[in-house]
């Protein structure tokens, strides 16, 4: 259980929705692979549910029920509305007419022969497609293996009890303010996750810096946020041998700068 200690107490916080997005992302990655923590998380969710359930009941106005059922009916009546997930169970049975079709021998066999010919024309292209699909699947397996290796590297870093964890926040930006979290260990490298990052102007990039107590800041890499403002940066090689005092993100020219020059977006100290 020792290796789970860094996560155990945070699982309660996750179930109660108290963690910041970067911490949530890191814990969810761990939960994907750890049955023990998943069980603890499920229990924490149960406790969170109990707190919801402890709320004294309140009677809603009757009109809400009517409006709900009316909107469900309207949704079902809409053309193209999806049917029941169990629609296959309600699939129409063969009609007596279709059953009678096969009682007419000649026409039935003629159609069967035509079907064989059509099938031959279909099978050969299908074989080619199958080969293409096999090649695509192999490529997918290789990509998944690569992803798994990277996930393991992240987990090694997250599990290490001596990894430095630093929360970076913005002191000036308006809500939702950019924030991030660094997991750093000189041996295993660095993981940085961030959220609520504003989009960058063309030709600009975010850059993460490690600032030692004395000496110049070292760059941990550049990154760009996705459309939702989330970003992740991972480096297997630590940019400096000792634990830095401060981490900071600045906006720099595309490709990065040798030292921080642009505006500071977020900062955190250990």
């Amino acid at each position: 259980m020792n290796e789970h200690l860094p996560f155990a107490e945070d699982l309660d916080l996750l179930a109660f929705g108290l963690l910041e997005p970067p911490e949530t992302a890191a814990l969810r990655a761990h939960l994907e692979l750890c049955a023990e923590c998943r069980a603890r998380f499920e229990e924490a969710q149960g406790i969170a549910a109990l707190i919801s359930l402890s709320t004294p009941a309140a009677q809603p106005p009757a009109r809400v029920r009517a409006a709900l059922l009316e909107s469900i009916s309207a949704e079902r009546a809409r053309p193209g509305a999806s049917g029941a997930p169990a629609a296959s169970a309600a699939a129409p049975r063969p009609s007596p007419k279709s059953q009678n079709f096969w009682t007419r021998p000649f026409l039935g066999w003629a159609v069967a022969a035509a079907a064989v010919l059509i099938a031959l024309g279909v099978i050969i292209p299908q074989q080619r497609r199958a080969q293409d699909q096999l090649a695509a699947l192999r490529a997918q397996v290789a990509a998944k293996q690569d992803e798994l290796d990277r996930t393991r590297a992240v987990l090694d870093l997250l599990r290490s009890t001596d990894a430095l964890r630093v929360h970076l926040v913005s002191s000036t930006a308006p809500w939702p303010w950019p924030e991030g979290k660094v997991y750093y260990q000189p041996k295993n490298g660095l993981l940085f996750v961030a959220s609520h990052l504003p989009p960058l102007d063309p030709g600009k990039a975010y850059q993460l810096w490690l600032v030692p107590e004395s000496g110049n800041p070292a760059s941990a890499g550049i990154f760009e946020p996705d459309a939702k403002g989330n970003a992740m940066l991972m480096s297997h090689k630590a940019p400096m041998p000792m634990k830095p005092r401060t981490f900071a993100v600045t906006i720099e020219p595309e490709g990065g700068a040798p030292g921080p020059t642009g505006p500071q977006v977020m900062v955190g100290e250990q």
Partner: protein, 198 residues
């Protein structure tokens, strides 16, 4: 409670359609089953939404939204593994907090798990009020500062950082108090979540 009340309740229990059967009917697009679930748990969902939003019309919106959600995802809900009222209550809380903060509803992975495990018949527990008393008791026994934080966090959806800004306490203090509060709640409530203690 006299004997006639008890007999009547017992008869109702026998004729009551179990939650899993209602969910199955909802999967098959049975609107009456949705109405039955609403009659059973609508007041609970509304209460949770109202607790978060403190605004009747907004809570009504969340109430409808939560049942729409059930209608949409019923096929993925396994009532044999999860508790329907627990799922409804937690979903209502998430939806209400999204509403409160004008956020778009979170995606699948960030929102509520499809199954929330509660190893007992909640309807039965609610009818005896024992469960709710137990939970309220556990919350009530927390020190005031811890309970206030749990209330703000759980029913206002504030994160650590927001709690620190809102209360003026250092982030470290907020985290320590919350962890202590949740550890106490786990200690008191986890027992009733374990089937062996049922």
């Amino acid at each position: 409670m006299d004997r006639s009340d008890e007999a009547s309740r017992s008869q109702r229990a026998e004729t009551r359609v179990p939650d899993p059967a209602l969910v199955l009917r909802i999967v098959n697009r049975d609107e009456l089953a949705l109405a039955e679930v609403y009659d059973r748990y609508g007041s609970l969902v509304y209460a949770v939404a109202l607790r978060v939003l403190r605004d009747g019309p907004a809570a009504e919106e969340v109430l409808q939204d939560t049942f729409h959600r059930l209608w949409s995802i019923a096929a993925r809900f396994d009532p044999a593994r999860g508790s329907l009222p627990a799922w409804l209550a937690v979903t209502a809380r998430h939806r209400a907090i999204d509403y409160l903060r004008q956020r778009r509803p979170a995606g699948e992975s960030e929102a509520v798990a499809v199954e929330i495990h509660l190893p007992f018949d909640l309807e039965e527990q609610i009818s005896r009020n024992g469960l709710m008393d137990h939970v309220r008791g556990a919350l009530g026994r927390l020190p005031d500062a811890q309970r206030n934080l749990v209330e703000l966090a759980y029913f206002q959806g504030m994160t650590h950082t927001e709690l620190a800004r809102s209360t003026g306490e250092p982030l470290g203090t907020v985290k320590t108090r919350l962890r202590a509060a949740l550890a106490s709640l786990r200690k008191e409530l986890a027992e009733i979540l374990r089937p062996s203690k049922k």
